[in-house]
């Protein structure tokens, strides 16, 4: 690697195969190893809903020395583990980019079904006997994917020993023979790759600058969420498997018991949220995780949480909807459900991080907020963010406070404890079972300050106001950026307002547009309920035109902003199940900047 140490690194590698080929596992090893070797990595995997069968899987990883915000639309290298799926992706390989493919297929192939016939003149073919190498070394074709990773590593001079460590960790706990066999498959691939005569020009160059203190850690949005939970001191977790949130529970299941915390897989989402509320009532920091369909099931219980003023954190990773929709495709269409999906007036706090580091922040802060504002908090992720991998740098000091609960100040025993006491900020001092002399009942029925059922008109009016007003103070919650502006300061021609995972693409597009001389800036909104209206108004005042790109059909955020500000915005909506393309946003910015003729000139 030393020979290219001065060169910048920006390589995007796509591995494409059929479900069951080990495509995702191969991509995982690649990105883990490269992050460990000190590179910035952004990665995102696409896979089908079936476990096996014949769906397409693609693992893409962009390995860079500089900070970037999204994947590139062109990859530098495509590895095909299944030609039928990879052939449509050949055009996404750049000029002098490489296509690596199986050169020893199992059966006879009809004309045109082998990927080698689809390469453009300027793309470079590397045919490799993945299957034969795997069978030769391990007596089975199963390790083709590992051979492919080894080949990549050898071909690009990546550090083999770091891959060994990553593979060793991935297979820890498995029989030693299996690990050895996988390592030998890697080595055989590596050797083949290293011996291959190189024709490509992109190289792994410098790693990221050493300005920062701590190491980069490669993690997915879900993993960062889990780290946030753990750093915030999560006590209990109840969940039910659902793509793409399942991995949150899986990772917590590994980590929580180590800290004396408890996790239970309940029989369904209904009981998961119920148990979460119960644990919150008992004073625990409790959470659940689900996706849109699970959130729909939980709506009823969410209402209970709002009504009974119980803390609960729900991580909701969105996927294509409605209904079962597209379980393994990304979308940002559960915003309405999260904001509005409840019986009655049941507002709650909603945070939507925009990158992996934000997942960590929002997860931890969600516990603080749930506890402080005594309400369910939904952290709205989506599949692209949950499964996207970035190399992140976690703070050395734990940024989350241990206890944010408003304590009961009165000496117990003197006056009767009012669980729902009206206060200036709307937040009532909260006691939990075990606190002396603070016994009370929570209920889903409308109730008075003491928590007794009460359906008098003025009570419902007052208590409704109390429950909504206490949330407004959440926009000033310390230690979390709930909105932020990037790019040009002052008046700009185009402003882009974004939320969630799409903001990475928005940033890249904004940077490109500024390079083209367009005055523009971008603002991310992290807290979606209640909305930080002040900064949003200020931003919109500065912008000639406002663009809201988001991955849903109904322009849910645009409608939310328009509804809250009364100002029109331009909508850009895509529901392809894939992340938005930078060039689509860029084209829209150009159009809004009145530069349509530039596009025509191109």
């Amino acid at each position: 690697m030393a020979k290219n140490a001065k060169q910048r690194t920006d390589i995007q590698i796509a591995i494409c195969g059929s479900a069951g080929d080990g495509t995702i596992a191969a991509g995982d090893i690649l990105k883990q190893a490269m992050a460990k070797a000190g590179y910035n990595v952004i990665a995102f995997d696409v896979y089908p809903p079936e476990i096996r069968g014949f769906g397409k899987c693609i693992a893409r990883a962009r390995i860079t020395s500089e900070q970037v915000y999204s994947l590139k639309s062109e990859s530098d290298c495509l590895v095909s583990l299944d030609d039928s799926h990879a052939i449509p992706h050949v055009p996404e390989v750049c000029k002098y980019g490489t296509v690596i493919y199986e050169d020893t297929p199992m059966s006879e192939m009809a004309e045109g079904t082998h990927i080698s016939s689809h390469l453009a003149s300027a793309q470079l073919p590397y045919g490799v006997a993945f299957r034969e190498i795997s069978e030769r070394v391990t007596s089975s074709a199963r390790s083709r994917n590992i051979v492919a990773v080894g080949y990549l590593a050898g071909l690009y001079d990546m550090p083999a020993e770091i891959f060994h460590q990553v593979i060793g960790r991935k297979f820890s706990g498995k029989p030693k023979e299996l690990t050895d066999s996988v390592l030998s498959a890697f080595d055989a691939g590596f050797q083949t790759g290293a011996e291959t005569f190189r024709l490509h020009f992109d190289r792994i160059g410098a790693s990221r600058s050493k300005s920062k203190q701590s190491d980069l850690v490669m993690m997915s949005g879900n993993a960062a969420t889990v780290r946030g939970c753990l750093d915030a001191g999560i006590d209990t977790f109840f969940g039910y498997p659902i793509t793409p949130a399942t991995t949150i529970m899986e990772m917590l299941a590994r980590e929580m018991p180590k800290r004396g915390a408890r996790l239970l897989q309940t029989e369904d989402e209904i009981s998961a949220i119920a148990a979460t509320l119960g644990a919150g009532y008992a004073g625990a920091r409790a959470a659940t995780a689900t996706s849109g369909p699970g959130l729909a099931l939980m709506s009823e219980m969410m209402g209970l949480g709002a009504m009974a003023e119980l803390p609960a954190v729900a991580f909701v990773s969105q996927r294509g909807g409605p209904s079962t929709g597209m379980p393994t495709k990304t979308e940002q269409s559960d915003l309405n459900l999260a904001v509005f999906g409840v019986a009655g007036d049941g507002q709650r706090i909603i945070l939507a991080p925009t990158n992996v580091e934000g997942c960590y922040k929002c997860a931890g802060k969600a516990f603080e907020m749930a506890e402080k504002y005594q309400t369910p908090v939904i952290v709205l992720l989506d599949l692209y963010l949950s499964n996207r991998y970035e190399a992140v740098e976690l703070p050395v000091e734990n940024p989350f406070s241990e206890n944010c609960s408003k304590p009961v100040k009165k000496k117990p025993g003197k006056t009767k404890y009012s669980r729902f006491k009206l206060t200036s900020d709307g937040i009532s001092p909260r006691a939990i079972p075990g606190d002396e002399d603070c016994m009370h009942t929570v209920t889903g029925l409308e109730h008075n300050e003491q928590g007794r059922p009460n359906d008098q008109p003025e009570i419902h009016q007052i208590m409704s106001a109390k429950r909504h007003e206490k949330l407004l103070t959440a926009v000033k919650h310390p230690g979390i950026t709930i909105s932020k502006r990037f790019g040009d300061k002052g008046k700009v021609d185009v402003g882009i307002l974004g939320w969630g995972s799409t903001f990475g693409e928005i940033l890249e597009a904004m940077i490109e547009a500024r390079k083209e001389g367009i005055r523009c800036s971008a603002m991310k909104v992290v807290m979606l309920s209640p909305l930080p209206l002040g900064p949003i108004h200020a931003f919109m005042d500065d912008c000639g035109e406002v663009l809201v790109p988001e991955l849903n059909y109904e322009a849910q955020f645009a409608a939310l902003v328009t509804g809250a500000t009364g100002r029109p915005v331009h909508r850009l909506n895509r529901v392809t199940g894939t992340p938005m393309r930078v060039r689509e946003i860029l084209a829209e910015i150009r159009r809004l900047a009145g530069q349509t003729e530039m596009i025509a000139a191109e």
């Binding site: 476990i51 899986e250 299941a253 369904d268």
Partner: protein
């Protein structure tokens, strides 16, 4: 393996399969289960049973929830309903109540049935709806990639029980017997001949019939309910087992270490339709 030296000639076998007519019960879609999955025996067993019983495809509805096993209706050439997770029985109830002449076969997995859908089973059983519930038990969640299920054994390691499962598994046979199912039997996916016999008997039974099928998950269970383990432990119910003796059925159902295959309990009693007819009759009488 004494049949090993019996000659097998492809031509003869193809002729046999062709003339049996079982292929007419299959759809054109190749099943998408993991190769080796016990669930393949559902299609094979149900097709053969329907062939033998001479059921008409158009008068049959296959209903399922969500889960690996619940893919089943897609692979059958009958009416099918692939509903929501755990909600297959309510859907089937609706269909059966609407049209008593239909043969309704519900297929589900252990998670679909005993976790999210657990609340529905007792009610379907006690009402004695005339449907057949074939439960493919593989003791693990396959579709969400290997989590523990209500029938996972103690000590089973899954992604959500990394420190081993501590929960006692359910005993579905005892549950169903105690829920009042009027026909309860057990089969094993690795013995397709017996499975077919059982499906035939289950469909033929008038009332709620529950067939528990032990079916290995080849992808996520490499240690407990494998073909190897089950193959060594399963055995037939004793020849003198009395299917009308509830206590004997409960006693036999307790033996989970050596699962016994065959009909545990069978007793005719009025079905939901009978009850509805009776209510209708009473109502008529008040006019």
């Amino acid at each position: 393996m004494m049949n090993i030296h019996q000659p097998v000639y492809l031509e003869d076998k193809l002729e046999e399969v062709e003339s049996s007519g079982k292929l007419a019960y299959r759809s054109q879609t190749l099943p998408t289960w993991c190769p080796g999955c016990g669930y393949f025996s559902i299609v094979e067993g149900v097709s053969k049973a329907m062939t033998d019983l001479g059921l008409n495809q158009k008068d049959t509805v296959c209903v399922s929830g969500i889960g690996c096993a619940s893919r089943f209706p897609f692979f059958m050439n009958t009416f099918g309903f692939h509903s929501l997770h755990g909600r297959a029985l309510p859907v089937a109830t609706g269909i059966k109540v609407a049209n008593d002449d239909l043969t309704v076969i519900v297929v589900g997995g252990d998670g679909d049935a005993f976790a999210i859908g657990g609340a529905h089973i007792p009610h379907a059983a006690r009402r004695n709806i005339d449907i057949t519930y074939i439960l493919f038990d593989n003791g693990v969640y396959g579709l969400t990639k290997g989590q523990t299920s209500p029938t996972s054994i103690v000590g089973f390691k899954t992604t959500t029980t990394p420190y081993l499962n501590v929960d006692q598994p359910l005993n579905p046979l005892m549950m169903l017997l105690s829920y009042g199912a009027s026909w309860v039997a057990q089969a094993y996916a690795g013995e397709p001949h017996h499975l077919t016999e059982m499906i035939e008997a289950a469909v033929a039974h008038r009332g709620f019939s529950y067939l528990h099928v032990l079916s290995p998950c080849v992808t996520f269970d490499k240690t407990s309910m494998t073909y190897k383990n089950l193959g060594m432990t399963v055995r037939p119910l004793p020849g003198d087992h009395d299917t009308s003796d509830f206590a004997a059925a409960m006693a036999a159902a307790q033996n989970t270490d050596l699962p016994q295959l065959g009909v545990y309990f069978a007793k005719e009693r009025p079905t939901l339709a009978d009850g509805l007819n009776e209510i209708a009759a009473r109502a008529e009488a008040t006019v």
